[in-house]
Subunit: 136 residues, 4 copies
């Protein structure tokens, strides 16, 4: 966590006026989320119920791709215009929520779903926090 | 192009009722776009004016990441809910427009900017077409 | 295809002396491959036999990630040192071969596996061609 | 860190017999690396010396793409055959070393280069550790 905050502090040129700690928290939450949904998809696929968990697997795969792209856009910053960052964060909130919705249901039976549902919830909250800051 | 249409035809399970040709056109446009912006960023960076083209390079890098993620979400389809696909396409339209805005200006001097500005324009149009179909 | 060749022609600074048509063919083959394996994973997951096709799905997902990264490294070129590009192409050949091995078996029953097995075969061949050129 | 170890523990099906802590350490190091090189590329591009830092920027961009793909292949595991994982880790070691080589030189002047050179060094070491375990 510390290193991520330091990373944003080392980039002096950002002009979007979002607090570096807010950005660092979001970057780390997106990273943990991308990791958790990728692992959870592997776990669901490896189980005996892959047919049944199909939608949850697809949502996890989407969430991983969207979270990775969002993290990069977040790190790159936005120059004068926050449009893309805000739109990408918004899409990411939906990807996290979609993934969370199904994995939270399977959390009692699958530890990877529990970890995944926590990670997606935290990432969605962190994205919403950046969106709020961009609008402030 | 043909192969992409065949790919979507081979996935019988989609429930979003968007025409397969519209999806295939968008997938190919996103792929060509991701390739063109990545190459254009390389070209701008290699030139003597990287300092000056900084914003254009960053926009190309963002566009590449967003277009790649969007293509995957598009291919995976959306099940009953189109929310994520629509939001991700919307973010991608912004990424393409942002990239296009600057590269179109540099198109007269740099062939890679000309190719890039064409590819981003085509990708944005193709994404808008899918968005329209999702709403229909 | 033409546009990809034009893209490489517009990047004057490459120093790896690989023929631009060879690079363009590989970039397009990697792009088509990434698309086909992503779609094929969706198709296998949507079928009634996801449990049985587990390994093939995982190999397709790996192949998509590796092919996308390889395409970008290929486009960026290599400066004086070809080590990374050669190593990444080598990993990509393995990812394509792994994916091809299983999807070719399922090709008679699943059209998306047939398209996927063709795309991975073509991508592996195109990567091998670039590797040969790097060594020449 | 704890969560990543828990993630690997929750995936019971791996057959590659690499210690979960080794895998978790590598996944986290790759994630931190992808973040640091992306940020460092932004920082170098934003500086007054982008023209001069061109090669370092390109190496950072390559490293980010390769590290992200490697992390996913690592999380997915390998079934009976470790070929792809070993090859992809090997390519990643080269990407990290390439990036490290140039950023370590710029570390005294740029904090983002210092953080980046630490992150790439750690990621390369963690990848080498997994490669060793695969061979054991």
């Amino acid at each position: 966590m510390l290193q991520t905050r330091e990373l944003f502090d080392s980039l002096a040129s950002r002009t979007d006026h979002v607090d570096n700690q807010t950005l660092a928290t979001a970057a780390d939450a997106l990273s943990a989320c991308a990791q958790a949904v990728t692992a959870c998809a592997v776990g669901m696929l490896a189980g005996k119920e892959a047919d049944e968990l199909r939608d949850a697997i697809n949502r996890d795969l989407n969430c991983s791709d969207v979270a990775c792209a969002t993290r990069r856009v977040l790190i790159r910053g936005t120059g004068a215009d926050h449009g893309l960052l805000a739109a990408q964060l918004q899409a990411c909130v939906m990807a996290c929520d979609d993934s969370h919705e199904l994995c939270a249901r399977h959390a009692p039976r699958h530890e990877h779903c529990r970890l995944c549902s926590e990670a997606t919830e935290r990432a969605a909250a962190a994205c919403r926090e950046v969106i709020r800051s961009l609008r402030a």
